[in-house]
Amino acid sequence: MAVNDITFSISSGEVVGFLGPNGAGKSTTMKMLTCFIPQTSGSAKVNGFDIGEESIKVRQSVGYLPEHNPLYLDMYVIEYLGFVANLQGVKNTKTTIKDIIADTGLELEQRKKIGALSKGYRQRVGLAQALIHDPEVLILDEPTSGLDPNQIEDIRALIKRIGEKKTVMLSTHIMQEVEAICDRVIIIDHGKIVADDSTSNLKTSTSRTVSYLVEFKGVTSKSQIKAMPWVKAVVQESDTKWIIDSNSDNNMQEDIFRFAVDNGLVITSLQQVENSLEDVFHKLTKK
């Protein structure tokens, strides 16, 4: 069973990251929500329509970019978008296609065959086909996988822009992506939801330890630092750089400053190291 008893709801206008290790059931969930494969039990509604009973209406209101972005490689970009527009029953096909091509930055490529495009541009074509009927809901399955860093940035910016107006659900296993685009994260593992919270909440709630990266001018030792009551662990990065883990939720920067003054040290840099979503992800999905 790929997906087992998961429940969540996404309110309109949210951008939600659907996170999980490979094989966690992300794509399966998305395939069910887009009416590609039927669910064996349970039900779901997309934009208020039941995926089983009102499947055509669901499909009308959803824009879907499948994993690996399948396209007809022997079609021209503009021809393909026309085909999709007709399938979606778009009115004013010509102007719509023109707009979407401008939106996704495909002006120069529109008369090329899809097979001749680079991966980044193909991804844009995939996004264009998902957006062509101006859907309420966008479901994107790993929209940036396999792209180079510049292309990833472009596509992310594009999704972010789209997300201002639409409800977006995107799956990924890249943490930075979620931190960059999403308001909320749902993490699933082995077909079950292990976390569902806003991006910022999730980062703070699951991280008990706050760390500080400190650079001292002068000589100090591990035991000296450890003498502070709230210190959980100390790691020496280099001669002068230290990472101090705190077991307190309070901000201890002041304490560190006092410690330096008491020991005749000068702090040249001090920063709180935030727990990244990546750590959260590791904690929740590693068994």
Partner: protein, 242 residues
């Protein structure tokens, strides 16, 4: 359905499949009908087009299997089936779009052979000394047989994502329905049921229509067989077990 149909036709044209199918069909038929010694109509003595009508079901068997083998197999392999089926169109309209596109190709392969008919018509000892009714009956039979083949091909394509498997399977099922039932009926083992067996086969009804008598039972047979395979395709397609 129209959108799918247009897309399929375009893909036939842009990938040269259409031209190759039509040209191969015409050359093969032309060779047998006008050039090859044993089968050409010029030496035959009778002004008829039997050569064409006996040969075409065999040639079509290969060509139709070839043009339909990619219809669903490729979509499944490339994954475009996922974009296609998540659009607001019914499964049946996807299938029918593909069916009519294949059927159109069969139609356009047959159309130029009307020139053959015209030639035989003019070349008769007395011009026009050809059984026009029987010829057009045969054309109709051939068209309906083409329809059955296309439905079988699309069905074969829907159950596998491997084009070769699809091709061989389609060829096999077409053969079974066109000829095998006839041969089975001839076996001693099936004495008593021989008429029924032959009746299931396409050839029985094709021959009947070729006589120039348009029997509704034959027409219904062809349409039902086409419908049956389209329905089977729909069942396979709905199960989405790929």
């Amino acid at each position: 359905m129209r959108t799918i149909y247009i897309k399929e036709i375009r893909s036939f044209l842009s990938s040269f499949i259409a031209y190759i199918v039509i040209v191969v069909f015409l050359i093969a038929n032309g060779l047998f009908m006008w050039i090859f010694e044993d089968t050409n109509v010029l030496d035959f003595g009778y002004a008829n087009m039997d050569t064409l009508f006996e040969l075409s079901p065999w040639i079509l068997m290969f060509l139709v299997s070839a043009i339909t083998m990619r219809s669903f197999s490729e979509e499944k392999k490339v994954g475009t089936i996922e974009t296609l089926t998540t659009k607001p169109i019914s499964d049946l309209s996807i299938i029918m779009g593909k069916f009519f596109a294949g059927f159109t190709l069969v139609l356009f392969s047959l159309l130029p052979t009307i020139i053959y008919f015209y030639s035989v018509y003019q070349l008769g000892e007395t011009a026009g000394n050809i059984d026009t009714g029987a010829t057009f009956g045969s054309y109709l039979g051939l068209l309906m047989l083409g329809g059955v083949y296309v439905a079988i091909g699309i069905f074969a394509s829907a159950i596998t994502e491997n084009q070769i498997v699809s091709f061989v399977l389609s060829l096999f099922v077409c053969f079974i329905f066109y000829m095998a039932f006839d041969y089975l009926g001839n076996l001693d083992a099936f004495k008593g049921t021989d008429f029924f067996l032959e009746w299931i086969g396409i050839n029985f009804h094709y021959r009947s229509i070729s006589k120039g008598v348009l029997d509704t039972r034959d027409v219904i047979y062809f349409l039902s067989l086409t419908g049956l395979f389209i329905w089977l395709t729909k069942i396979v397609f709905e199960s989405r077990k790929w």
